[in-house]
């Protein structure tokens, strides 16, 4: 059993690409937690996708044994955190499991919004912050400027800021020492009833769900009967252990430590991040605060390109859900796209990740419909309920009003981009609530925005108008009453349910026009005129027409024509693969995918 005073639990707060994974690798290498031979770059990200995108999607934890110059050996538990806005709840739970945090800032890029919001979370949880300037070996490093930013932000002394390079290994030793010296040891009562926080979980196809936890009080032993407080379920601790590069089973884990538990649970839904583990026999009096049942924020239909692949798609989604409990889905039928699923995601990145994982891990190419947020519909009959798809919106006559979710958005940028970013956010129905200069060259803008507005091309636009010098983060705030209308897109009079959207009434015209003109460029000419219309209720608010492609329906078809004509039509048909039939109109797959993209 490790003495509590020799345990340090910490996480790393960093923006994507600021070198978190590389620096983590160095910590593991220098402490021989991992051999160079075992070392794949960025060892902590074990999914291909994560490695490629440089985003740690699911957090992990790893235990490092470090022999400090004081002669003692310390147990350093590095708790990795996901680095994206969509996963802020998971980040908060990882932070809650730590006493300290390494604040890692790219010396050539400075502080980004993501970093700040996570930093605030860490400060809120009273974590000891160790600021580190990373990539100081780069020519473009602005060591003084960025140090000033950090000093301004956390009020530390400039000397407290460490300088490091994950690439060269510079400063890694100092970081290890700072972890030991500056981060406080965990506190807690080893004799008290067990109280452990689940900060993450993962699915192992052979062993079921593995939950990662941090013990605040008490001790856990293999074979204990444990209770998951919020889930209200009891299991046997079939195996507990510590986290090295692989799980290492052990008999017992004490207060302050980090470990894993396997109970034979097969579905990740049953283990909720933020839940408290205690003993069934001698339970703790209350659960660890901060637990939330994470609700998906963004919804979209996912449909197989070929209807025959529907069952395969279901299997794939079920498998994804095993290690990603935040993904929810239920069957959905679309007149345009056939059988598919309405899926709920934590945010837009989460949606993209799921789409990519379907493609990479399961070879499933899918069509994703226009994403939307969830709304509260209030009917004239006094009912209110949540809707996840525009097609569930009650009829205008039965609808009293709709509420939509709002967020607080933080954008950090250079002062020269304030104007264009303000325009973008105002156009997205945003209100500026705070403007704060972090340094002379860095400004933090806070907006009150409807979540729905960032679901469409917000990131891309923000990136392009700020030439990449803007970072973005958000947190949901509340639901508010809103003037929303359902916009339908019609092709030759047939509504395309997959393209319906709920939009603010002031934006319906612009949105309708945009979709119509996009579709005009995306739909191939066919053998008849195609009318593309945007409608709100019975009212047509935008229209485009695609002229007909000349086709010779009346050409001869006698003995000598049959073969040629058949082959011609077969060729046309093959050219039409990946098309969807909406009434008589063929719609290519890519139209569904690209209709919302930037022109």
């Amino acid at each position: 059993m490790h003495p509590m005073k020799n345990i340090r639990n910490f996480c790393v707060i960093a923006h994507i690409d600021h070198g978190k994974s590389t620096l983590s690798d160095r910590l593991l290498e220098m402490t021989s937690t991992i051999s160079a031979r075992e070392m794949q770059n960025q060892a902590l990200d074990d999914m291909d996708l994560e490695r490629e995108r440089g985003i740690t999607i699911k957090s992990h934890a790893i235990q490092i044994k470090y022999a400090h110059s004081d002669g003692e050996t310390y147990t350093l538990n590095l708790i990795d955190t996901p680095g994206h806005v969509d996963f802020s709840y998971e980040v908060s739970r990882s932070i809650a499991a730590c006493e300290g945090a390494l604040l890692l800032v790219d010396a050539s890029q400075g502080i980004q919004a993501q970093t700040i919001s996570n930093l605030y979370l860490a400060i809120e949880h009273d974590l000891e912050i160790i600021p580190i300037l990373n990539k100081v070996d780069m020519e473009s490093a602005m060591i003084e400027d960025v140090s000033d930013q950090i000093v301004d932000l956390i009020g530390c002394d400039p000397e407290e800021i460490l300088q490091a390079s994950g690439k060269t290994g510079q400063g890694v030793q100092e970081i290890l020492d700072a972890i030991v010296l500056r981060i406080p040891a965990p506190q807690g009562d080893p004799q008290a009833p067990l109280q452990a926080l689940i900060f993450d979980s993962m699915f192992n196809p052979f062993r079921g769900v593995i939950a990662y936890f941090r013990i605040f009080n008490g001790t856990i032993n293999t074979g204990d009967r444990v209770r998951f407080v919020n889930a209200g379920k009891e299991y046997e601790a079939n195996e507990i252990g510590i986290l090295k590069m692989k799980e290492e089973p052990c008999k017992s884990l004490g207060t302050g430590n980090v470990g894993y538990i396997i109970t034979g649970i097969k579905e990740s839904k049953e283990i909720k991040v933020g839940d408290t583990i205690t003993h069934a026999e001698r339970p703790c009096s209350k659960s660890i605060k901060g637990f939330e049942d994470v609700k998906p924020m963004v919804f979209a239909g996912i449909f197989p390109i070929d209807n025959e692949d529907y069952e395969d798609l279901r299997d794939s989604l079920e498998k994804l859900q095993l290690n990603d409990a935040s993904l929810v889905f239920e069957p959905e039928t679309s007149a345009a796209l056939g059988f598919g699923f309405r899926c709920g995601f934590l945010g837009m990145l989460h949606l993209e990740i799921i789409q990519e994982r379907l493609s990479r891990e399961f070879d499933q190419e899918v069509i994703t419909t226009i994403p939307n947020v969830s709304y509260y519909a209030h009917t004239t009959a006094g009912e209110n309920f949540m809707i996840h798809t525009p097609n569930d919106l009650p009829d205008v006559s039965a609808l009293n009003y709709v509420e939509e979710p709002y967020i607080e958005a933080q954008i950090i940028t250079k002062p020269e981009y304030i104007g264009t970013i303000m325009n973008l956010c105002l156009d997205k129905r945003g209100v500026l609530t705070k403007q704060h200069y972090l340094t002379q060259d860095r400004v933090e803008l806070t907006f009150d925005l409807p979540l729905a507005e960032i679901v469409f091309d917000f990131y891309d636009k923000l990136k392009s108008i700020s030439r990449g010098y803007a970072s973005f983060d958000y947190a949901p705030t509340e639901y508010r009453r809103s003037q929303l209308v359902k916009l339908d897109i019609k092709l030759n009079g047939e509504s395309v349910d997959a393209l319906s959207a709920l939009v603010h009434k002031d934006k319906a015209y612009a949105f309708g026009r945009r979709i119509c003109s996009r579709l005009k460029t995306l739909l191939p000419r066919q053998q008849f005129v195609i009318a593309i219309q945007a409608a709100v209720g019975a009212k047509i608010i935008a229209r485009e027409t695609i002229s007909a492609l000349r086709k010779d329906v009346t050409a001869k078809c006698y003995g000598g024509d049959i073969s040629r004509k058949r082959k011609l039509l077969e060729k046309q048909k093959k050219g039409k693969k990946k098309m969807r039939q909406i009434g008589s109109v063929e719609v290519p797959q890519k139209a569904f995918l690209e209709v919302l993209k930037l022109e």
Binding site: K556, C557, K573, S584
Partner: protein, 376 residues
């Protein structure tokens, strides 16, 4: 029930829109006819059923002098079991004389298909036809006078230069002479034709689709009013005056095609002769095969079935789909479904094009086509 098609690949002039196989050099007529007769003797066992229809197409078969025609018919007589109900000869108005009509009558030819195209002089000039408007009218009058009750003419619509009024006039002439059968084709612009070239270089501006469709609609409505039945997309007949030979194609009957470029079908494979007069003659002389063969898979046959039958008034027969192509039955039902109502009329046992559906025949056809997934 089987048919024989004989391709006579010669024309006096090249029509600007035509991409059929023909030659305007008439020197080798005798040699080609000789080769066709050789081919007849070689292919005598191709058809397993009695021959009920014979069709001389082209090109311009009316260019042949009577003795050549007669020799071909005699050759057929001696090599096939003939039970002919219909012998059709395609002819151009300028070839039709009372003398010829009498000879064709004598040979047993009982149906004439006259390439009229239009009754307007400037259309015929523009098309580079070999006849004028007066000859068009006369050919019909004379044929009827000579006793050819079974008569069909070709008309073309949907080209720039054909006004609605002119189209109406063409249809009035049809009514005036009570022509029992019509083939009406939309002008198609084929590559490697004079018209194709003119279109490419901007000298010819095709009629906008909307106007071509309006013309087609006008034709369908007017001919319906006159009592014609549109029994196939491009073919209209007065009661009991349907073309037997062509109807057989659409019923899936077997047929043998003779002459350069002719196609044959025996139920499971199609073959087509080389579309080059000199090579055809040479191969025949050398005793070598003149054709290429294509075996039809079940998918091919299914596709052909739906393609051809959708164009006919009887439409696609559900029982036939079920019996002939059970593997594609559900596929068919599923893929025709979006068109039912507006474009396809469903009865208990059949699926037939509605008037609106006729405008998008090819689209519907390709929607119900089955293509191999691996070749997608």
């Amino acid at each position: 029930m089987a048919g024989i098609y004989i391709h006579i690949p010669f024309c006096k002039k090249a029509c600007h829109y035509c991409n059929f196989h023909f030659s305007t050099s008439l020197k080798s007529i005798d040699a080609v006819v000789q080769s066709i007769k050789t081919e007849i003797s070689k292919q005598s066992s191709y058809l397993k059923e009695p021959v009920t229809t014979i069709y001389f197409g082209g090109g311009t078969p009316s260019i042949l002098n009577t003795s050549l025609l007669e020799s071909i018919l005699a050759k057929l007589e001696s090599h096939f079991s003939l039970a002919t109900e219909e012998i059709t000869l395609e002819c151009n108005p300028d070839d039709i004389t009372f003398e010829k009509l009498a000879e064709w009558n004598r040979l047993g030819i009982n149906r004439l298909s006259i390439g009229v195209q239009s009754f307007h002089e400037h259309h015929l000039t523009w098309m580079n036809r070999s006849h004028n408007a007066e000859q068009s009218i006369n050919s019909i009058k004379w044929a009827q006078k000579a006793g050819f009750e079974n008569l069909t003419i070709d008309l073309i619509f949907g080209f720039a230069g054909l006004s609605k009024t002119e189209l109406k006039e063409n249809l009035r002439v049809v009514q005036k002479y009570a022509i029992p059968h019509l083939s009406v084709y939309g002008m198609t612009i084929e590559p490697k034709t004079a018209l194709g070239h003119q279109t490419k270089t901007g000298q010819y501006l095709p009629l906008p689709e909307a106007e071509a469709n309006a013309q087609m609609l006008m034709i369908m409505e007017e001919l319906d009013r006159q009592g014609y039945e549109q029994y196939e997309i491009s073919n209209y007949a007065m009661p009991k005056k349907r073309a037997l030979h062509n109807s057989n194609y659409w019923q899936g009957a077997t047929y043998l095609g003779l002459g350069p470029g002719a196609h044959s079908f025996n139920g499971t494979s199609r073959h087509w002769n080389i579309a080059n007069n000199q090579k055809y003659i040479k191969l025949i002389q050398q005793g070598q095969p003149v054709y290429e063969v294509e075996q039809l898979s079940t998918i091919d046959r299914y596709n052909e079935y739906v393609m051809i039958r959708l164009r006919t008034i009887e439409g696609i027969n559900l029982d036939q789909i079920e019996n002939l192509f059970p593997a594609y039955f559900n596929y068919f039902i599923q893929n025709i479904r979006p068109f039912i109502g507006k474009h396809v009329q469903k009865t208990e046992s059949s699926y037939r094009l509605t008037q609106k559906g006729k405008f998008i025949t090819d689209l519907i056809t390709s929607a119900v086509f089955k293509v191999n997934r691996e070749s997608d």
